[in-house]
């Protein structure tokens, strides 16, 4: 078999990234949109860790940890907004979230 | 093969380590079987102990003193009709208990029953344990949701909130123990489970007694958090029988239900193992440094045999106390055979202890074998004490209410563990 190189990891990350983008752009359910964002973040941190391995230093891994922190913050705030929104409009469809004020 | 086994016994490496893949596999099988048997034994013991707390006898009919009751239960559960509610989400309903079980059993990969008696020695061992045991909550949440019913849903929401909150206190308590490993010459701590026990050995103190009140406080906090984490009384809100019928597994029956029970008990043993490893010196026998003469080694190595001898004696007393009526004949024979088996094991262990003693200086196979038995014995004994604690609490205390539980988790345990962590760091810096 071909030995696994950084390039292989990049391809996987790119595939995850594109899947995430498709999810963000096409799904209606906000929860799933948030999940797709998590996919994108994962793709990015996979890239970073792969590069970290490629260069043989730890910067990529540290950044991956920061990305996890960011993902946690993003999920908390995003889901908080979602709950608040659901209370008011009783919907989580992205099509119906079209007012700047309610 | 035999030679390899002997050479393994003579070696001092973890099976997961270099060139021991085969033994790693065997260890996985041994641990899987061992944990399953332990869960069954725990099931029997809990029923009997609880019964005696409550002035009852508990199971008495299936086998002498109900010894075969867990087997009968397991058979019954396997043969029961497997019901999936029509409105349930079939796939998720099916997979939920499997998630819980996998999470509960996966944790055993890194539990060190001895310095070389573990499946693997990961350098992120404790992180791995916390992570995998936090996956167990997924099984519960998903089970409650998939049942498509109100009580399971409430139970699932309760337990997910509970487990996520208590994980924080638990993690902080663990961190303070890990911090203690770093107070050595090199100033470097370790996350490896084996490394943690080794550093207790090197520092000559179990971490429960380290910086006296601090280790103890962290340990107590961990114990409270671990009871909450495994959904046991007095924190068994998720399956509070009198409130939510059976909580998240209300709709489950038969084999699937037994998988939930299996994973609950396996998780109990797993978290107890963490507590033992982090604070109670893991496989170390009491006073390994104070009483380290070979003579003391011999005395302590007699303990496993003596324990089994005691169990055999109890079983023989049971035989003697059985009614002399002829209808008890089979039970008497069965119990006597069980007692004889225990006695035989005791004899074997004592023999090994004596044989291992005579050549304790060189690394003979008997000596290695004796050491291995010692390690596993002390580890299992400590875990068994925790199991008794679980039963004791269940028999004694009422159940907390959900908001009180969350209050304890966030307003009591979290600040205390944080304070202990900071104090441990300060004291450690001052001392070293």
């Amino acid at each position: 078999m071909v030995p696994i190189t950084t390039f292989h990891y990049l391809v996987v990350a790119a595939a995850l990234f594109v899947l995430g983008v498709i999810g963000v752009l096409t799904r209606r359910n906000v929860v799933i949109v948030l999940m797709s964002i998590e996919l994108i973040l994962n793709a990015v941190s996979l890239n970073l860790v792969a590069f970290s391995r490629m260069w043989g230093n730890l910067h990529g891994q540290v950044f991956a940890i920061f990305i996890v922190v960011d993902a946690a913050a993003e999920a908390a705030v995003g889901l908080g907004i979602l709950i608040a929104f659901f209370r008011n409009k009783e919907t989580i469809n992205i099509d119906e979230i079209d007012l700047l004020k309610w | 093969m035999l030679n390899q086994f002997m050479s393994y016994l003579g070696s001092n490496v973890t099976p997961g380590g270099a060139n021991n893949q085969l033994w790693a596999l065997i260890y996985v099988l041994i641990i899987f079987a061992g944990v399953s048997v332990a869960v069954m034994a725990m099931n029997w013991f809990e029923r009997k102990a609880l019964a005696h707390f409550q002035i009852r006898l508990g199971p008495m009919r299936v086998g002498p003193h109900g010894l075969l009751q867990p087997i009968a239960d397991a058979l019954k559960l396997m043969l029961k009709e497997d019901i999936i509610p029509q409105e349930a989400d079939q796939f998720v309903f099916w997979i939920a208990p499997v998630i819980g079980l996998l999470a509960a059993f996966t944790v055993y990969t890194v539990i060190p029953f001895g310095p070389s008696q573990a499946v693997s020695d990961m350098n992120i061992g404790i992180l791995f344990m916390l992570g995998v045991s936090s996956l167990g909550v997924l099984g519960i949440v998903v089970a409650g949701w998939a049942s498509n019913s109100h009580y399971p849903l409430i139970g699932a929401l309760r337990s997910s909130a509970q487990m996520v909150s208590y994980e924080i206190a638990m993690g902080l308590a663990v961190v303070s123990a890990i911090l203690m490993t770093s107070f050595n010459a090199s100033g470097t701590g370790t996350l490896s489970m084996i490394g943690i026990v080794r550093s207790q050995q090197q520092q000559g103190i179990w971490f429960i007694f380290k910086f006296f009140p601090l280790g103890l406080v962290a340990f107590v906090n961990f114990v409270v958090a671990m009871i909450a984490e495994t959904n046991r009384a007095p924190f068994d809100m998720a399956e509070a029988e009198s409130e939510l019928t059976a909580g998240y597994h209300t709709e489950y029956s038969g084999l699937r239900w037994s998988l939930f029970m299996l994973s609950e008990y396996a998780a109990m043993i797993a978290v107890s193992s963490i507590a033992v490893t982090l604070w109670l010196g893991g496989w170390l026998r009491p006073f390994p440094n104070l009483l380290h003469a070979p003579g003391w080694d011999f005395v302590f190595s007699l303990f496993p045999g003596l324990t089994f001898l005691g169990l055999a004696a109890i079983a023989f007393i049971g035989v003697a106390r059985m009614p002399a009526h002829f209808s008890f004949k089979i039970q008497r024979i069965g119990l006597a055979a069980f007692a004889a088996m225990l006695g035989f094991i005791a004899l074997l262990l004592l023999l090994i202890a004596i044989a291992g003693r005579s050549s304790s200086s060189d690394a003979s196979i008997a000596a290695r074998f004796r050491e291995g038995i010692d390690y596993v014995y002390w580890f299992v004994l400590k875990v068994a004490l925790f199991m008794y604690l679980f039963i004791w609490l269940r028999a004694t205390w009422p159940r907390y209410r959900f908001d009180q539980l969350m209050r304890i988790g966030w307003k009591v345990l979290l600040p205390i563990t944080l304070g202990v962590l900071v104090l441990t760091a300060i004291v450690g810096v001052i001392v070293s």
């Binding site: 790119a14 799904r27 907004i81 | -």
Partner: protein
């Protein structure tokens, strides 16, 4: 569940490891001192699982199924981290992502109206535009990878793995009184988390 299971049994940290190694030695004999878990077979298996999980996240109707698929992806990616000699990141990924964030997601899915959501249309009104944009992005990636294949060297430098956690700690917190390279960023991240917690609490509370 396969990744979880594999993760259960492999331990690339003390190479070679566990049952995964055993399986590998049966499936494809390994030669040399190459870590057995870092074999192409495992790479393809895990990346396949990750991509399949991502695919289901995007296509499944039911949000809970999506969440489960995402968990599979996350755990598979954690494995990939392990293969890349980043055990600490993998551990953090499991604890924070799979154990924390995904439970939060499931919690919210159960709170909001899922019955109706699962009967609704899956995709929004402008899905063709979105899909086209994503395809364009994919084209960009493909062209970049095809043209820039040489930009990524094939080397894979072995990182000292046993001290991985320690080195990350050094980078984050510094060493012997010196501030680490990322200490300031780390503090900022903690501030970010604090703000996020406060924001989430304030937004979800009915009356403060």
């Amino acid at each position: 569940m396969i990744p979880l299971f594999i993760w259960a049994l492999d331990s690339p940290l003390q190479h070679p490891a566990g049952i995964a190694a055993f399986l590998i030695s049966v499936v494809a004999p390994v030669n040399g001192e190459m870590a057995p878990v870092a074999t192409p077979f495992f790479f393809y298996l895990l990346s396949g699982l990750a991509v399949a999980g991502g695919f289901f996240v995007v296509t499944r109707h039911n949000p809970v199924h999506c969440a489960l698929a995402l968990i599979v992806t996350l755990i598979a990616v954690a494995h990939l981290y392990l293969m890349l000699y980043a055990p600490f990141v993998a551990g953090v990924q499991i604890i924070v992502y799979a154990g924390g964030i995904m439970v939060l997601f499931l919690f919210v899915i159960m709170l909001v109206n899922i019955e109706r959501a699962s009967k609704d249309r899956r995709f929004n009104r402008i899905w063709p535009v979105g899909l086209a944009a994503a395809c364009a992005l994919m084209g960009l990636f493909v062209s970049a990878f095809v043209k820039g294949r040489g930009l990524f060297p094939d080397r894979m430098i072995k990182l000292p793995e046993a001290s991985n956690t320690q080195e990350i700690a050094t980078a984050l917190y510094g060493e012997a009184g010196r501030m680490g390279q990322y200490t300031f960023a780390f503090e900022i991240a903690s501030l970010l988390l604090l703000v996020a917690i406060l924001g989430a609490v304030i937004m979800t509370k009915k009356r403060i």
